[in-house]
């Protein structure tokens, strides 16, 4: 490696009231490399990049940037040094146009007057450089899809004279094809000697795009300078978790051939979303739906759950047809959904854990219009313990838990409800690697106990590893159905791409 070090962070410490978020972190980044930052949720990645982007001030430690010690007191100071950050929550202004967003805060202006034409032309050039000339600079940002908004964020970073771009889980909102395009953008950037700090939970992405890896654990750097393509997965996971964990899927149970069909979806169609979907899930079976974002996966789950009304077709649970378009009917029939947007659609973040768990079962605890809190709490606690939610204190608010534990709360809700059909939409999004295996085991255990599970995930290995059977979706059509064992990731991708090309 001949490339020079552009950024050196040494012994960074940052404490918040009651928490030592960073406890001596070292990080060095070279010119033109993709430096991956790995670590479980709560390891300190977010705090570290906030220090780097000027949003937080470190309590101690030094930042050396291009050979000089710097203090990054504000986001602007970092920006002026040439350090740009693209946050996980896209931070664009919906009501402004693409061009206005890109140049917000450093408008091309003469004496206070915007130079509209220049701004739009310059924005257009940046978008073209990023390989997205189809995004119009005049377009209102709020009307762009998530992937497009991310490109705008990146164009905004490039509109400054940046040397380093920090990307916080950029792939979380993208499907596989968009991730591919993001990677080619990153390669173009590094070819221009721009360094990238890339944060992701997906190890396979880190292998593909990364040069070196730094691993954080509990606010400390536990490994640095690891080769991204060559370090074995097991080693990375061991560094992250501090223990030997196989990134492994649980043994498949044996779904008996004659196990009764619990969920029977026949000819379900919703114009514009999906067409003629047949789906049968037996007792104890996990069926996976694989496909790109926009292939209709989530829409199918939401239709089964009654949150959307189907154009035609039927949903039957235990032989009884469910009234379409009614969540109440679906829930009463024993259907439960763990939604994709856990924090907004699945949980009351400011409420206690037990109240989140009992939410779908409140009728059981009510006597004459009053809730019997004691019962409610006791039963919720039972399930919280059974799922090994940590910390197991049911009085804590749901928002204080990590992603994996939040997901368990949503699962506990449906267990308390004794649900027959569990619909999981991206159950491991935002869940760190250590907690994933645990969640997989949990889902399998539920299936073994007799629940019929439908699993949707953007991560094809997850679908193939966890599910018994797989349905591959492309543009709202089922293009393949079969045992999960009989197909591999590449075949799924082929099917998906072929379908979208057609």
């Amino acid at each position: 490696m001949t490339a020079e070090t552009i950024l050196q962070m040494s012994d960074i410490v940052k404490t918040f009231p009651g928490v030592r978020a960073l406890d001596g972190v070292d990080l060095d980044v070279r010119k033109g490399e993709v430096h991956c930052l790995l670590g479980q949720n709560g390891a300190g990645k977010s705090t570290l990049i906030k220090v780097l982007s000027g949003a937080h001030q470190p309590d101690s430690g030094t930042i050396t940037w291009q050979g000089e010690r710097v203090r990054l007191n504000t986001p602007m100071a970092a920006m002026n040094q040439g350090i740009a950050t693209i946050y996980q929550e896209l931070d664009l202004v919906d009501g402004l146009s693409v061009a206005e967003n890109i140049y917000l805060g450093h408008e091309l202006a003469a004496a206070g007057f915007s130079r509209h034409g220049d701004t739009e032309r310059a924005a257009g050039r940046l978008l073209e450089r990023l390989g997205h000339p189809e995004i119009s600079p005049q377009q209102e940002v709020g009307k762009l899809p998530a992937a497009g908004q991310q490109i705008v964020s990146m164009a905004r970073a490039l509109s400054h004279d940046v040397q380093l771009i920090v990307m916080d889980e950029p792939s979380a909102v993208l499907d596989q094809e968009e991730v591919g395009r993001l990677f080619s953008v990153i390669r173009d950037l590094t070819a221009d000697d721009i360094a990238v700090i890339y944060i992701s939970h997906r190890l396979e992405e880190i292998r593909e795009i990364g040069d070196r890896v730094t691993v954080l654990k509990d606010g400390r750097t536990v490994a640095t300078g690891l080769s991204a393509p060559d370090t074995p997965t097991s080693e990375l996971i061991r560094e992250m978790t501090g223990r030997d964990v196989e990134y492994a899927f649980p043994e498949r149970g044996m779904t008996a051939e004659d196990a009764p069909v619990v969920l029977d979806v026949a000819g379900l169609s919703s114009p514009g979303d999906f067409t003629d979907v047949d789906l049968r899930v037996r007792r104890g079976e996990i069926v996976g739906l694989a496909g790109l974002v926009g292939s209709g996966r989530s829409e199918i789950l939401e239709t089964i759950y009654g949150a959307r009304k189907a154009g035609s077709g039927s949903v039957t649970v235990d032989g009884r047809r469910i009234r379409p378009g009614s969540v109440a009917a679906a829930v009463n029939a024993g259907v439960g959904l763990c939604p994709e947007e856990r924090k907004t659609q699945g949980l009351l973040l400011d409420e206690a854990i037990y109240r989140n768990v009992s939410l779908a079962t409140l009728g059981r605890f009510a006597r004459g219009g009053f809730l019997r809190r004691g019962d409610e709490r006791a039963q919720a606690e039972q399930h919280v313990r059974a799922l090994d939610v940590r910390p197991a204190d049911v009085e804590r608010t749901a928002g204080t838990l990590s992603g994996g534990n939040q997901q368990k709360i949503v699962l506990a809700r449906w267990l308390l409800r004794e649900c027959r059909v569990l619909l999981l939409d991206e159950p491991t999004r935002g869940v760190d690697v250590g907690a994933r295996s645990e969640l997989y085991a949990l889902v399998r255990r539920l299936a073994d106990e007799g629940v019929a599970v439908v699993l949707v995930s953007s991560e094809i290995p997850e679908v193939l590893g966890l599910a018994d059977r797989v349905l591959v979706l492309s543009e709202g059509h089922v293009v393949h159905e079969g045992q999960a064992d009989d197909i591999d990731e590449h075949q799924v991708l082929d099917l998906v791409m072929e379908g979208s090309a057609a």
Partner: protein, 349 residues
């Protein structure tokens, strides 16, 4: 890199965006709904109320709209910037009382009183903005507090000084005539009364529109209303923009207050309560979102125009004016629905 740049001129010119039809581009503007509404209400009263068809009535409609509209434009800007000002209605009265009282009590030139009142109005705006920014208390509460304080002070100070609930006349004092010409003059041309306030209103709308759409401050206003945190992160001076917006409302309150002072000569201390909602309603009818980040000055002006037409139209049509607020409420709902509908259908292709 250079190859990509060179390839660009071969592409059709940058203006070659797929052009949408004119009506579509017009209709994704925030004020589109209020424009449609204004035309509909104009046609309605034109058809049902004979006096409405006279030019002089139209001038009165415009005047009614202007009194409201100058404030509505400032309040609209503030709402685009993501904040409320419930004290705006009473602040108009405060400004007028301040000018009259200071001038009379200290026997000063009226100019001094008027500029002192400007100071008072800007200070009120600054205070509102500063407290909202520094404490993070929702502007609804901060300005509600200001509304009550001003309402009480208006009455208490006036009674303390004059012993009654109205201000003393200052029309015989030095400097009055010139100021009256600026704030409250009117001419009759061909039997039509033209009030200078209408011209001021149009000027303020034009300035506000131009600031919003053609200056960096305009971008900042949308940004602080649409996404305050990211605006701050890219270096937009959020605090200055928001405080500036509150002070703009203060300026507008001063201007309208001066108009009332110089056209009515005395000010009733209890005036202005409830007006703040009319400003907000006008801005909302004009397409400003309650949540901020979206709206237009022309829209707020259109909202005020609709107000003016309704206010006068009911009288011209000979209806019982008791129904005014019912009519207004229904119109607010309709306009909001219309805005939503127009925006959705124009966004689709």
């Amino acid at each position: 890199m250079s190859t990509t740049v060179k390839a660009e001129p071969a592409q059709p010119g940058q203006d070659d965006q797929p052009r949408r039809p004119v009506w579509r581009r017009l209709f994704i503007r925030p004020e589109a709904g209020s424009l449609v509404g204004a035309v509909a209400i104009f046609v309605f009263f034109f058809a049902t109320a004979a006096p409405f068809r006279q030019l002089d009535s139209f001038a009165t409609v415009l005047y009614t709209a202007a009194v409201l509209g100058i404030m509505a434009v400032a309040v609209g800007l503030l709402m685009i910037g993501g904040e409320f000002d419930l004290s705006a209605g009473v602040a108009v009265t405060t400004s007028a009382i301040a000018a009259a009282t200071i001038t009379y009590q200290f026997t000063l030139n009226v100019w001094v009183g008027v500029f002192a009142a400007l100071g008072v109005s800007l200070a009120i705006g600054f205070f509102n903005g500063y407290v909202v920014i520094k404490t993070g208390i929702p502007s609804f509460l901060v300005t509600l507090g200001m509304l009550l304080m001003l309402q009480g002070a208006n009455l208490a100070v006036t009674r303390l000084v004059t012993g009654t609930v109205s201000t003393q006349r200052i029309s015989d004092m030095d400097g009055y005539a010139a100021l009256e010409a600026i704030f409250a003059s009117e001419w009759t041309i061909g039997g039509v009364r033209i009030r200078v306030l209408v011209l001021w209103w149009l000027l303020f709308v034009a300035i506000a529109t131009w600031v919003l759409l053609r200056t960096r401050i305009g971008n900042w206003i949308f940004a602080v209303g649409g996404n305050k945190d990211s605006a701050r992160a890219v270096g937009v001076p959020v605090a200055r923009v928001k405080i500036g917006l509150y002070m703009t409302v203060g300026f507008a309150a001063w201007f309208v207050g001066m108009h009332l002072l110089f056209s009515l000569h005395t000010i009733q201390a209890g005036e202005g309560v409830g007006k703040e909602f009319e400003y907000i309603i006008a801005a909302v009818i004009g397409g400003c979102l309650l949540t901020g980040g979206y709206g237009s000055a022309v829209g707020a002006a259109m909202g005020a125009f609709i107000f003016g037409m309704t206010n006068q139209g009911i009288v011209y049509a000979g209806w019982n004016p008791d129904w005014y607020y019912t009519f207004l409420g229904a119109m607010l709902l309709l306009a909001t629905l219309l805005n939503m509908y127009v925006r959705r259908s124009a966004a689709k292709r």
